[in-house]
């Protein structure tokens, strides 16, 4: 059979030009600033939108073709996975908690990303970035949908995932990723591109997806691995869009440089704080570890991000200042985060546990400067107490950082024994922060962050109980009421893994799958 494809009439560069700029026109009876009303107010100056080009030179026709191919592959695997009870092949049931974290913490952000890119795609006057943003908007809704489809199979068997979007909008720690993205989509189009397109997609996304997806593969979770890789295959394009937009803005006008630098500083820090969840996932939640958080940070941020910022130096952009503090935190972040979720296991939509002896040895070897000295003693104590039936459940609400909304768990840079407290007085009220960087972000735009929906304060204001709850009646149990508001069931969706239904069911089902009963 003759497999020769018809000779293309145009080369890639010409085809790209025809399918982007070639489809654009100059308005004649409306003013540009009326059609694109959000282009000026952030202070970014663009002189020639045609200078922007997607280096992949992907056109819409090719986009549909390859995306369709990705979907076919993905759903073939998802079907096979489900038909074969693939969920019973994961290393052990603790692993499932990473899936819960993902569906409630990350997948809803994919949907918000879809909205964000639809919005900026509409607002940018240049046809090149418009088309790239349109593609990314479609990618992001595809990510949200494929994740929900893939994970719905787990939801048939395991707890805590049944109302992930409801949880995303309410559960205390989920306000961290939620507020991060809300902050980005309520910024102007250029800041959105720098925050999500560049800082998140380019600088940090490898730290989210590569370890998560590799971790899924390593832990026998073919479903997650498949949607992860399918989403990730779009990511190279997103990263490229982010990088090209930054270079384009910087080349357009020197006055853009300080504005962009401030955004990069802000969003690298904001994104890094959200990745706290990934750090603990890598070091504590994967029964089979791929690499430590610290190693991943070194490869994907210090090495790779270092190369990036060296490359951007010719535009006058430098490595964000926060990198110095992050370097000090890399020995501590995952341990402080896991301790936090161990504390608040009664109020979460997934289970926590203490590492066993072998896992502690792994942590000691990966964190020789910090684990044995600062974290092993507390974890051994918790483990011993749990064995005595005295598992620690912290039921008092924590103080939160006004900016990142994470409980004030982070220690002073350079002193892992002292909590880092920072505060600001603004218009007669006090505001508290986990770090100099979160404080600086607040001080730059206090009007924005005074509105933060801080879960702890909202609970104390009485806004997080089911409708009709009377918190003044005798014997009122605030935790029970808050869990009801979260749509989580006490004793089933929360508490320690050891006593969970997930653990019990998984053992039973796996037994049935591997033995004759």
């Amino acid at each position: 059979m003759d497999m020769q494809v018809a000779k293309k009439k145009l080369g890639l560069k010409e085809r790209y030009a025809v399918m982007t700029r070639g489809l654009d026109w100059k308005p004649s009876y409306q003013k540009m600033e009326d059609i694109y009303p959000y282009m000026a107010y952030e202070g970014i100056k663009i002189h020639d939108w045609d200078k922007w080009e997607d280096p992949f030179r992907l056109t819409m026709d090719a986009y549909w073709k390859y995306q369709a191919e990705k979907e076919r592959k993905l759903y073939a695997i998802i079907d096979a996975f489900n038909q074969n009870n693939g969920h019973l092949n994961v290393t052990d049931a603790r692993y499932l908690n990473t899936v819960k974290l993902f569906i409630s913490g990350i997948s809803p952000l994919e949907y918000v990303a879809h909205r964000g890119f639809s919005h900026v795609g509409r607002q940018f006057p240049g046809p090149g970035p418009r088309v790239a943003c349109l593609m990314q908007a479609l990618d992001e809704i595809r990510h949200a949908q494929t994740q929900v489809h893939s994970i719905s199979n787990y939801n048939k068997y395991y707890n805590g995932m049944h109302d992930f979007h409801h949880a995303h909008d309410r559960v205390w720690f989920l306000s961290v990723p939620k507020s991060f993205f809300d902050d980005a989509i309520t910024a102007g189009p250029f800041e959105f591109m720098v925050s999500i397109g560049f800082s998140f997609e380019y600088v940090l996304t490898n730290l989210l997806f590569v370890p998560f997806v590799s971790g899924a593969a390593y832990n026998g979770d073919m479903g997650t691995m498949t949607f992860g890789f399918s989403a990730q295959s779009d990511e190279a394009r997103h990263m490229t869009l982010g990088l090209e937009v930054i270079k384009f803005i910087l080349q357009q006008d020197p006055a853009n440089v300080p504005i962009v630098q401030r955004w990069i500083d802000k969003w690298t820090w904001r994104g890094y704080r959200v990745l706290t969840l990934v750090a603990m996932m890598m070091d504590y939640m994967l029964p089979k570890r791929t690499m430590s958080w610290k190693e991943a940070w070194e490869v994907y941020f210090e090495e790779n991000g270092g190369a990036l910022f060296k490359d951007l130096a010719r535009y006058g952009i430098k490595m964000p200042d926060c990198a110095a503090q992050i370097a000090l935190e890399k020995d501590h972040l995952s341990h402080q985060a896991w301790s936090t979720f161990y504390n608040y296991a009664a109020a979460s939509n997934f289970h926590t546990w203490m590492p066993d002896e072998e896992e502690m040895a792994w942590l000691s070897s990966k964190y020789p400067n910090s684990y044995d000295k600062y974290y092993r003693p507390r974890m051994e104590f918790w483990r011993e107490e749990a064995a005595k039936g005295n598992r620690f459940y912290n039921k008092t609400l924590p103080m939160l950082c006004q900016t990142c909304q994470i409980p004030m768990i982070f220690t002073e840079p350079g002193d892992p024994t002292k909590i880092c407290y920072r505060e600001v007085d603004y218009k007669g009220d006090k505001y508290h922060f986990c770090s100099d960087h979160c404080k600086k972000i607040f001080e730059d735009e206090p009007e924005k962050y005074v509105q933060a929906w801080l879960p702890v304060h909202q609970i104390y204001q009485g806004n997080c109980f089911p409708e009709g709850t009377d918190p003044t009646v005798e014997g009122f149990d605030p935790l029970a009421a808050v869990l009801k508001y979260y749509n989580l069931e006490f004793g089933r969706d929360n508490l320690d893994f050891d006593i969970s239904e997930d653990k019990k069911n998984f053992a039973e089902w796996r037994g049935q799958a591997t033995k004759n009963v």
Binding site: S339, P377, R378, I409, Y421, E445, H457, Q461, G462
Partner: protein, 119 residues
């Protein structure tokens, strides 16, 4: 610096004291005891006696820690917004000068957490 906006950008802050049904927020941290991952947030009426917090609230909150029973409150060092500070147990929060969203912490000399790890 201000928020870049297309028109006047003014919205009410979310956590002013009037929203807490007569209570004000007080944050309390125990130095060198990171078994409790973060300082705590409490809604207390400004008329509450400071001593009632020590005797009535803190045991339920920090009591899980083996160091808690060993605390000699007479020796405890207090800080408000990081500065040395002396509370009067017989006076109310308001009389002690505590306002909405103030943060106080205490250090208990000699007690340094599980195996001295500040946990």
């Amino acid at each position: 610096m201000a928020v870049a906006a297309v028109k006047t950008y003014e919205f009410p802050p979310a956590d002013t004291v009037d929203k807490f049904h007569g209570a004000q927020l007080l944050y309390i941290g125990w130095e060198d005891h990171l078994l409790f991952c973060a300082p705590f947030a409490f809604p207390f009426p400004p008329t509450m006696r400071f001593g009632d917090i020590l005797a009535g609230v803190l045991p339920g909150v920090f009591g899980y820690h083996p160091d808690f029973a060993k605390i000699d409150w007479a020796k405890a060092e207090w800080f408000k917004s990081g500065q040395p500070w002396q509370p009067d147990a017989d006076k109310s929060l308001a009389e002690n000068g505590l306002k909405h969203k103030d943060v106080i912490r205490f250090r208990t000399p000699g007690l340094t957490g599980i195996k001295g790890s500040c946990s």
